[in-house]
C-alpha cells in the first residue's frame, strides 16, 4: 500500500507538469485549430530563462526561498508569454488564412529554430540548476514520506490550473475565449476582438508552459535544449487524452497520463512504461474517440 501511494505521488508530480504544458496545446487548438508544435520548446525556454535569472539575480538569496521562487516564476511566465506572442506574430499570424498544413509546417520550423537557438546560446551540454537552494527534507503525509519539492510541484500546478479554469469560466475575457473557440465568425459578429483573444491565448499557454519548465528545472535540476520534445509529446498526448480543445480535459489527461506511467512502471515493467501509457491512450480513444471530456478530436493532423 505504501508503495502504491508513493507511486501515486510520483505520478501526480509528473502528471502535473504534463497537464500544465497540455493546457497550452489545448487552448491554442481550441481557438485556432492549430497544434502548436513549438510549445514544447517554449517550455524549455522557461527552464533556461529560469536558470539564467536564478543564477544572475540571486533572487533566493535576497528574498528567501519562497518569495524568491515566486518572483522567479512570475518573471519566467512573463518572459515566456512574450516569447509566445512573438511566435504567434512571426510564425502563425501570416499563415492564418493559409491551408492548415502550412501552419503545421511553420510550427515545426519554429520548434527547430527555437531549439537550435537555445543550443547555440547555451551550448549542447546539460545545464544544471544550483542544488543548494531547495528544501530537500521529506514531508510526513499520513505516515508517507514524500519529498517537499514533490508536494510543492503538485500544489503549484494545481493552483495554476484552478486559477486558469476560474479565469476561463468566470470572467468576461474567459467567456470571450470560449466564444472564439466555439465559432470565430459568430464571436466576431458579437463584437469580440478575435485577434486579441488569440493574443491572449498565446500569452496564457506559453506562460503556463514556461512555469512548467522552471518547475522541472528546479525539481530535477538537469535541463537540456532537447527536453521540450519528450515533454511536448507527452503533454500533447495528455491533451488528446482529455479531449483536445477542452481545458479541464487537458488537466485530467495530464494527471492521468502521469499516474498511468508511474503505475505501469511500478507494477508491470519500467522499460515498457511508455508503451503501457500509450496502450491506455489507444484504448481510451477507441472507447471515446473525442477523448475523456472532448467534443472534437484533431481530425486534420
Amino acid at each position: 500500500m505504501e508503495e502504491f501511494l508513493q507511486q501515486l505521488t510520483n505520478g501526480l508530480a509528473v502528471g502535473g507538469i504534463y497537464a500544465l504544458i497540455a493546457l497550452g496545446y489545448t487552448m491554442v487548438y481550441g481557438v485556432l485549430k492549430l497544434i502548436n508544435f513549438a510549445h514544447g520548446d517554449l517550455f524549455t525556454y522557461g527552464a533556461y530563462l529560469g536558470l539564467t535569472l536564478l543564477t544572475s539575480l540571486a533572487l533566493t538569496d535576497r528574498l528567501g526561498f519562497f518569495m524568491g521562487v515566486l518572483v522567479l516564476v512570475l518573471m519566467v511566465m512573463g518572459l515566456v508569454a512574450v516569447l509566445g506572442v512573438i511566435l504567434e506574430r512571426a510564425a502563425y499570424r501570416p499563415l492564418r488564412e493559409s491551408p492548415r498544413l502550412s501552419a503545421v509546417v511553420s510550427a515545426l520550423g519554429a520548434s527547430i529554430f527555437l531549439q537550435n537557438t537555445l543550443m547555440l546560446i547555451y551550448g549542447a551540454r546539460f545545464q544544471v540548476y544550483p542544488d543548494n537552494i531547495l528544501p530537500v527534507t521529506a514531508l510526513d503525509l499520513f505516515g508517507l514520506q514524500v519529498p517537499v519539492m514533490r508536494v510543492l510541484i503538485v500544489l503549484a500546478s494545481v493552483v495554476m490550473m484552478v486559477t486558469l479554469y476560474l479565469f476561463i469560466q468566470k470572467t468576461k475575457i474567459g467567456t470571450a475565449i470560449r466564444a472564439a473557440a466555439i465559432d470565430q465568425g459568430a464571436a466576431r459578429l458579437m463584437g469580440i476582438d478575435v485577434n486579441r483573444v488569440i493574443l491572449l491565448v498565446f500569452l496564457l499557454g506559453p506562460a503556463l508552459g514556461g512555469a512548467a519548465g522552471l518547475m522541472v528545472g528546479l525539481y530535477y535540476g538537469q535541463i537540456n535544449f532537447t527536453m521540450g520534445w519528450v515533454y511536448g509529446m507527452k503533454a500533447f498526448t495528455a491533451a488528446i487524452l482529455g479531449g483536445i480543445g477542452n481545458i479541464p480535459g487537458a488537466m485530467i489527461g495530464g494527471l492521468l497520463l502521469g499516474v498511468v506511467e508511474a503505475m505501469g512502471a511500478a507494477y508491470l515493467s519500467i522499460a515498457w512504461k511508455d508503451a503501457i501509457a500509450f496502450c491506455v491512450l489507444i484504448l481510451i480513444l477507441i472507447v471515446r474517440p473525442t477523448g475523456l471530456l472532448g467534443e472534437r478530436v484533431a481530425d486534420k493532423i
Partner: protein
C-alpha cells in the same frame, strides 16, 4: 608545357629522395582522430606517441635504427580511416598504432591484416574486433565484457549480497548489465531487480520507488552519466541511502553537477584509471615528461593506451629482431609477457586481447572529486 613537367620531375625526385633518406629508419604508423568529435583524444595520442618515439630514439632507437612516426588522421570516421589505412600501408610502416572508435578500427582491420602489418588499437573495446581470428590485430584497451567481470568482482569484494541492476536499453549498457547479471548468479549473489529505464527523461522517482521495494544492498547502473546524476539526486530527495555503482559511462564530472555534491558523495563507478592515477613507475616518469613538454595532462586513458600500443610495437620489433610483420605479431602473441606498460603490465592472449585488469574502482568524495579506491 615544359614548366609543369619540370615541376613533376622535381616532385618525383623529392619524393624518392625522402624515401631514400628515411630508408634506414624504422617507421611506425599512428592512426588517430586528429580532427572530428574525438579530436582532443587524437591530438593527445599524437603527442604521446611522438614523445615516446623521441625518448626511444634518444636511447638509440630500435634494432640500431631511429624510429620515425608516420601519422595519419582518421577523422573518427570509418571511411576516412580506411583511406588513412591504405595510405599508411603504402609508406613502408612496420607496425601501426590505432585507433579510438571501435567501428573506425573495424574499417581498417582487414587492410592492415592483408598487408601483414601488426595493428595495435588503443580505444576500441567492442568484443567482435578480436573474435575474427585476425593474426595481426592487437589492442591495449580492455574488451567490453571485461568490465562486467570486474563489476561482478567488485560487488563480491565490497560484500554486497542483494544486487539490483538497472540499464538503459542501449546496446552498451544492456550488454554490461547482462554480463554482470550472469556472472553474479554464478557467484551465488542474488540479483533482486533487473530492468531498464528510458534515457532522456527527467523523473525517475517511479523507478527508484520500485527499486527500493526490492530492498537491494547496492544498485548497479550501467547507463550514462546524465541519468545517473538524476537518479542520485532523486534518490537523496527520497531519503534512501543505498549505494550506487556505475559503469565507465558515468565517468564524467557533469555527473556531480547533475546530482549535486551531497547526492553524488559515495557513488562508486568502474573506469579505466585517469592518467594522473596511473601508479606504475613508467607512467609516473612519462607523465612528468609529458607535462614538461606540453604543459597539460593527456586527454584520457585511451590516449595513454596508444602510448602502450607504441611501447608494445617497439618491444615486438626488438623481441622478434625483425621488421617482418608476421614475426612481430607472433612475438607479441607468444613471447611478450608482462612488459612494463604505462597502464600496467602488457601481455596479449592468442586473440590479441590484452590480458590483465585495466579497470579500477572510483568513489566520489565529499568535494565531488573522483578518488581511486585501493582494493
Amino acid at each position: 608545357m615544359k614548366k609543369p613537367l619540370l615541376a613533376l620531375v622535381a616532385a618525383i625526385g623529392l619524393v624518392t629522395g625522402s624515401i631514400a633518406q628515411a630508408a634506414d629508419a624504422i617507421k611506425i604508423g599512428l592512426m588517430a582522430p586528429l580532427t572530428g568529435s574525438w579530436a582532443s583524444e587524437g591530438q593527445s595520442m599524437k603527442k604521446i606517441v611522438e614523445l615516446l618515439a623521441k625518448q626511444q630514439n634518444a636511447k638509440g632507437g630500435v634494432l640500431g635504427k631511429q624510429i620515425e612516426v608516420v601519422t595519419e588522421d582518421d577523422g573518427g570516421d570509418p571511411r576516412t580511416a580506411s583511406l588513412a589505412a591504405q595510405r599508411l600501408t603504402t609508406q613502408g610502416i612496420v607496425a601501426v598504432v590505432g585507433t579510438y572508435g571501435s567501428s573506425v578500427t573495424e574499417a581498417t582491420q582487414a587492410i592492415y591484416d592483408e598487408a601483414g602489418i601488426p595493428q595495435i588499437a588503443n580505444g576500441s573495446t567492442a568484443i567482435r574486433l578480436t573474435e575474427k581470428g585476425l593474426k595481426h590485430f592487437f589492442r591495449t584497451a580492455p574488451r567490453d565484457d571485461e568490465q562486467g567481470r570486474i563489476a561482478a568482482q567488485m560487488i563480491e569484494k565490497l560484500d554486497f549480497k542483494q544486487v539490483a541492476i538497472l540499464h538503459d536499453s542501449t546496446s552498451y549498457a544492456k550488454g554490461l548489465a547482462d554480463e554482470t547479471n550472469a556472472l553474479l548468479k554464478k557467484k551465488g549473489i542474488k540479483v533482486v531487480f533487473f530492468d531498464a529505464l528510458t534515457p532522456g527523461e527527467r523523473d525517475y522517482n517511479a523507478i527508484l520507488t520500485k527499486l527500493k521495494s526490492a530492498n537491494p544492498d547496492v544498485v548497479l547502473f550501467t547507463g550514462y552519466y546524465p541519468e545517473a546524476g538524476l537518479l542520485l539526486r532523486q534518490k537523496r530527495a527520497m531519503g534512501w541511502p543505498v549505494p550506487f555503482i556505475g559503469g565507465d559511462a558515468t565517468n564524467n564530472p557533469d555527473l556531480v553537477k547533475s546530482a549535486g555534491q551531497e547526492a553524488a558523495e559515495g557513488f562508486y563507478f568502474l573506469s579505466p584509471p585517469v592518467p594522473q592515477d596511473l601508479d606504475t613507475p613508467e607512467a609516473q616518469a612519462f607523465l612528468a615528461d609529458y607535462q614538461k613538454q606540453y604543459e597539460e595532462v593527456p586527454a584520457s586513458i585511451w590516449a595513454v593506451l596508444s602510448g602502450d600500443g607504441f611501447r608494445a610495437a617497439v618491444a615486438g620489433i626488438e623481441g622478434a629482431k625483425s621488421t617482418n610483420g608476421g614475426k612481430i605479431a607472433e612475438y607479441l602473441h607468444k613471447s611478450l609477457k608482462d612488459y612494463p606498460g604505462l597502464s600496467g603490465p602488457i601481455s596479449f592472449d592468442e586473440k590479441g586481447d590484452r590480458e590483465g585488469e585495466v579497470y579500477r574502482l572510483y568513489k566520489v568524495n565529499a568535494d565531488g572529486k573522483f578518488v581511486m579506491q585501493k582494493l
